[in-house]
């Protein structure tokens, strides 16, 4: 691999595949995906339910082993990392998930949930635990003292998703994978969380993979869009190009089905 490749790309997959079941019940959830995430860019992975987009996200997060293919992060092969090496990987790659309630242990306070993530940090940083948590909560627009003492059910959906973002931010990851992170939020709250993701990209240079079924959100946030259908990426490119001049028939039908606010007469 040449040095030039490393300069622009943070993560790359080569022929990544995940097959569930065997024989007749075989489901090729992810079927030979080549995806490149550029440093400091937000890439949206768009697909309908069952397209394999969430499985791909979990493969990239190393929460699941692929059936075939490779994942390269910053030039290193991380396809099969385990144990300590995988925990190191998780310091660089973090995630926010769809359900802002299920992501919390319902019996534990915010502080306990956040503190767990500090395990990944070097001992020196752990000392300043409360401070780190406080900074991260402030960065997502929450009051640190008040929030740390709360239990998940005392927070609104938007606040819970912000806490989850803060959890990821504490680790200062280079790649953030947001898997349908805004799908369950109300439209007015959704915008504020998307703005937060955009700020992380613009101000901290964080690379973001935004997994969504909603082309509208993808178009609002992402620099590039990759459209996934039946386990494959059928089209990818700059967001403006995908929405303005879609090349693949599936992308075009997807765009045609999305309700528009202003019907272009």
């Amino acid at each position: 691999m040449s040095v030039d490749d490393n300069a622009s790309e943070l993560l790359r997959t080569e022929g990544l595949a995940k097959v569930f079941g065997r024989g007749k019940d075989e489901v090729r959830a992810v079927d030979g995906v080549d995806l490149t995430l550029a440093r400091g860019e937000a890439t949206a992975l768009v697909g309908q339910s069952g397209s394999g987009k969430s499985t791909l996200g979990r493969l990239l997060l190393r929460l699941m082993d692929p059936t075939a293919g490779r994942v390269l992060f910053d030039g290193r092969d991380v396809t099969t990392v385990r144990g300590a090496a995988r925990r190191d990987y998780w310091r660089e790659v973090q995630a926010v998930f769809q359900d802002p309630f299920a992501a919390f242990h319902q019996y534990r306070r915010v502080e306990a949930t956040l503190a767990t993530a500090l395990q990944l940090m070097p001992a020196a940083t752990r000392e300043a635990g409360r401070e780190t948590m406080g900074e991260a909560l402030t960065a997502v627009g929450l009051d640190p003292v008040e929030t740390l003492a709360k239990r998940p059910h005392e927070l609104s959906g938007g606040q819970r998703q912000r806490v989850m973002l803060a959890r990821a931010l504490m680790l200062r990851p280079r790649l953030l994978i947001a898997d349908e992170a805004t799908s369950m939020l109300d439209a007015s709250v959704r915008v504020t969380v998307l703005n937060l993701l955009a700020d992380l990209r613009d101000e901290r240079g964080m690379t973001v993979l935004f997994v969504t079924h909603d082309l509208g959100q993808a178009y609002y946030l992402a620099d590039r869009i990759a459209v996934m259908h039946r386990g494959r990426i059928v089209e990818s490119g700059p967001a403006e190009q995908i929405v303005g001049e879609p090349a693949h028939a599936y992308t075009r039908s997807l765009l045609a089905d999305v309700p528009k606010l202003h019907r272009s007469a």
């Binding site: 995630a95 998930f97 299920a102 242990h105 993530a117 990944l120 989850m164």
Partner: protein, 280 residues
Amino acid sequence: MKALKALPARFHAAAAVFLLIAAAGVIGPLVATAGPGDLLGGPFLPPGPDFLLGTDHLGRSVGVQLVHGIRTSLYIGLLAGVAGTVLGVLIGTLAGYRGGLVDEILMGLTNIMITVPAIIVLLLLSISLDTRSVTVMGICIGAVSWPWTARAVRSQIASLRQREHVDIARLSGSRTWRIIAVELLPYMMSYIVMAFVIQLYGAILAEAALSLLGLGPAGTASLGVMLHWAIAWESIRGGQWWVFLTPTVFITAITFSLLLVQSSLDTVFNPRLRDRKAAR
């Protein structure tokens, strides 16, 4: 405390019955003036002022035997219940959390254990072991009763581990044991409590069945051993009803009260059975 109030009245009634019987088993042997093996009077004396529950074929007090028998049965039940629940939860959790080959091997073993009737394994175990101590018997019963718990726990864990907070804990670097202890087991506690109650009355019944066949613990009274002698001496035909009715009534009362406790816990813990509380 709030949860206790939510329980139906039959839970409180059943729990009271069980606790009363258990108290008799704990306090009875301490205050009794004679041991269960002491020959105190003539054989088959009917209940009367000297012997509240009469005497058996050797002239031992049925009342004294009963309180000792309750203690033995409860001890075996608790031991077997704890052993069976711990084994079941361990095996079920491992299978459900690990999945894959580990799951297939452990569940294969579990299914074999479920197919082979537990009573036959118990018979073989009791015959082959030299000691007939109460503790060994309790452990033996526990060792064959875990499969149902394992299977139920496995399916629960397999679905719980799909939850997002488990992924979040993994991404936070939590080790497997911590995820199981902190992220999964607290959600399983109600389930494990119910499994334990089922194990408890299952073990008390298993002890009665084994002892009835003459394979009960040696050198002590148990409800099953009392039944065994009642049948061996043909007390039913002989009209000595107090000898067989006493253990029968108490075995039934213990198991039935535990069953009621379990089923009323189920209505509280299982949200599908619970009346829908005010929706938003």
